[in-house]
């Protein structure tokens, strides 16, 4: 069982995504991992290339996405009532990166700004928070932004994770609109798996669930992540369909967190939803954590039409699902940011 609910009258007006300019292809990793291992990785995980930051940060990429939506006419400083920043790799311990972006963007003092500390499930959780704020009546428009630069917390020489992860930022404009859609949600967490994906550095704690946090780098127990994914996510999809009174056949697409292609194929097989209807971006961008769902929507923007099931899952462990028809949403071309 999970937290479920539906928010009426919501419009996702526009989404933009930005990546840093440095593209790293698989040939880069051959001297470190060996040609055979890189070939196997490419075949199974499905990443052909990804973009890595040099000096850019999550704030940089999020800001570029916000500027893109401003240039597209999706928001102005006068219309935004809240700025939410979702990330596992914020620019600072304090202040909230949302506050720094509030200043960067020239938002009003009446505009709230705060961070949400989530990764792979962060976009759907961010939409849930935004929709709740809009329905509560206090806000008319919310700028939901964020992203992740996980390469900034990889240990030197951790080429396996460097092959998997890419860096990206995103922004989305969410509005209250009486003609907007009803947004059904399902959210869940399993804190017993809190140590499965972890990084120290910046926090006050030294251990989590018996695991050490004595360095700043990302640690991921891949087998545990996979066990969680194949056992929890298909059941969550079924529960979401039951609660929202939808069938798999009602969805034109799945836009899922791009964990890796093997995992997505397993989910397709276990749910019975054709893999061909999964929107994919991992081959060209890698796993971009909280940015992976908006990135997948924008990268496939010419093919996105109809009711789409979104599912974020991972670090926490946590998962969040929602569905929305993106036909009238402006999905911007993925921007490449100077770095």
């Amino acid at each position: 069982m999970a937290l479920t609910g539906t928010f009426p009258g919501i419009r996702i007006r526009a989404i933009s995504v930005a990546v840093p300019e440095t593209m790293v292809d698989n040939a880069h990793f051959v001297p470190f991992q060996g040609a055979e291992n890189v070939r196997k990785f490419e075949k199974m995980v499905g990443v052909l290339e990804r973009y890595h930051c040099r000096t850019a940060t999550t704030r940089t990429l999020a800001l570029a996405s916000c500027h893109d939506l401003h240039e597209a006419g999706a928001w102005t400083a006068e219309t935004v009532d809240a700025c939410l920043f979702v990330s596992q790799t914020p620019d600072y311990r304090l202040p909230a990166t949302a506050c720094a972006l509030h200043g960067d963007l020239g938002l009003r003092s009446e505009c709230a700004a705060f961070d949400i500390n989530l990764g792979c499930s962060g976009f759907t959780y961010g939409l849930y928070v935004a929709a709740g704020m809009l329905v509560s009546g206090g806000c008319r428009q919310i700028l939901l932004t964020g992203g992740d630069c996980l390469t900034s917390i990889l240990a030197p020489g951790d080429h396996a994770n460097a092959m998997l992860f890419g860096d990206a930022g995103f922004a989305a404009v969410i509005e209250r609109n009486t003609d907007g859609q009803a947004l059904p949600f399902l959210l869940g967490s399993d804190g017993k798996g809190a140590a499965v994906i972890r990084a120290g550095g910046g926090g006050m704690g030294k251990h989590i669930c018996g695991k050490s946090l004595d360095d700043s780098f990302l640690h991921m127990d891949g087998a545990d992540v996979f066990d969680f994914t194949i056992n929890v996510i298909p059941a969550a999809i079924k529960e979401f369909c039951d609660v929202s009174k939808q069938n798999l056949a009602d969805f034109a697409h799945f836009a899922f967190h791009q964990a890796n292609k093997f995992i997505l194929k397993q989910i397709a097989m276990l749910t019975g939803f054709p893999f061909a209807k999964h929107l994919i971006s991992i081959d060209h961008y890698g796993n971009t954590s909280s940015a992976s769902i908006p990135l997948t929507l924008c990268y496939n923007r010419e093919n996105v039409a109809g009711n789409t099931l979104l599912c974020g899952f991972g670090v926490g462990l946590s998962w969040g699902l929602m569905s929305y028809d993106f036909t009238d949403t402006t999905l911007r071309e993925v921007r490449v940011v100077k770095d």
């Binding site: 127990d221 087998a223 056992n231 097989m269």
Partner: protein, 69 residues
């Protein structure tokens, strides 16, 4: 599935010849890594069983693995 069919499925995962695999084969000698771990977990799930993270990390031989298929 029969043991022979399971061995053939494992040979496919490890990209090796099924005839080279025995119950005593050491997994680390045939390419036991994070990717093959996920593949055998998926194979176990497809057989209606569950091989969790702790169990998969504890496997040493092909024989150990066959118990979960």
């Amino acid at each position: 599935m029969t043991e022979k069919e399971n061995i053939e499925a494992l040979a496919d995962i490890f990209e090796t010849d099924a005839s080279s695999l025995t119950k005593e084969t050491i997994l680390k000698d045939i390419g036991w890594d994070s990717m093959t771990m996920l593949s055998v977990m998926a194979l176990s799930k497809a057989h209606g069983k569950n091989l969790n993270g702790d169990q998969v990390r504890a496997l040493v031989t092909v024989g150990d693995l066959l118990a979960y298929l």
